[in-house]
Symmetry: C2
DNA sequence: CCTACCGATCGGTAGG
DNA sequence: CCTACCGATCGGTAGG
């Protein structure tokens, strides 16, 4: 009870680790690096986490599950395809921007998961892509979208969305919601002017 | 003189190394892994390459220079903005698909470059992005594109283009040229149907 | 949370 | 291209 003034140590470890892994990669970040960032010894980390991969595993599935959950909600709750797409984009952008270091690791370092987590992670990602594809199918049914190759379109869209972890800064000019709108616009209409 | 029946050993080393780095990352690939793939000892590699980073450096700058050169040509030779964009997309797609493993390493592992190469690489990338931005500016001048935030648009476009190294397979259904056309279409018009 | 330490492995070199 | 080997460093454990 009562507000905690200090972060839990486990959370601090995750924050330091993800910050370092973003810069130097999972394999390029050592337990000694993480410990030094917190001013303790590497051995002390093991009182709070079970292994280095513990950090990676929790991060990848935490972000992944959040994304999957939110797109299922979108597919359950909203009916117009364009609206669905805009909500899916917004959820994706907000999840990433609100967890920048974790999202960066989620996108770039999941390959370092050992089995069976690696396979499990790929299933989670496939589920997400399938839900996204369903939005495009809805749009086709409603005669709103013209994506002939929906799998291709989804991968292209997700690439655009994931790229924001490369350049987004919380203190930058563009707010996350603005980015979501601009990405939604781009995905829907591309570069070409509607009328000259 | 005369046709060489066997690949140069240095080239074989690069091929093995890039294949392994694509699967396991730069730091996750050891000199012993590369040597084992070729059936020799790790120490023998040093008769052909000077270091592990030698492989990374050559790969990143080889792909990077090729991309930069081709986009400069596009900006020098073709005048219509849409045509320029389609050529730039095509060149990008062909460069990546024709050098899949190298391109994957180029996109994902350049952060492992040590200074001053890392900074030099970023300059090269900035040059490329600047040339791409110029195409969008041409399109605006010609009243063809409506990209208000061109830097943002360029990063989004490049994200879509770079994503192909994740899923492209030389033996797949889609040929590189088809992919270039579809990506060009998507970038120009997005998902929305022009008329209902 | 620390000291002390382990077995394994790394990139690279010497010398042939 | 190999044998033999180096100094450094890694993730993690024992025991307090």
């Amino acid at each position: 009870m009562g507000g905690q003034v200090t972060q839990e140590r486990r959370e601090q470890i995750f924050n330091s680790a993800l910050k370092l892994m973003r810069s130097n990669g999972f394999q390029g970040t050592t337990m000694r690096d993480i410990a030094a960032d917190l001013g303790i010894e590497a051995a002390s980390l093991y009182n709070h986490i079970s292994s280095k991969e513990d950090i990676l595993r929790n991060t990848c599935f935490s972000i992944g599950n959040r994304l999957v959950q939110s797109i299922h909600e979108v597919n359950d709750l909203y009916f117009n395809a364009e609206e669905k797409l805009r909500w899916a984009v917004k959820n994706h952008v907000l999840t990433l921007t609100e967890n920048l270091d974790a999202s960066y690791v989620f996108i770039h370092e999941w390959r370092n998961l050992s089995e069976p987590q690696r396979t499990e992670f790929i299933s989670l990602r496939d589920d997400y892509e399938k839900q996204f594809t369903q939005i495009l199918e809805t749009g086709e049914t409603e005669h709103l979208f013209n994506a002939t190759d929906k799998k291709f379109a989804v991968l292209t869209i997700l690439a655009s969305l994931n790229w924001i972890v490369e350049w987004y800064r919380a203190d930058g000019k563009m707010k996350a919601e603005d980015i979501a709108v601009k990405l939604g616009d781009f995905i829907l209409t591309g570069l070409r002017k509607d009328s000259i």
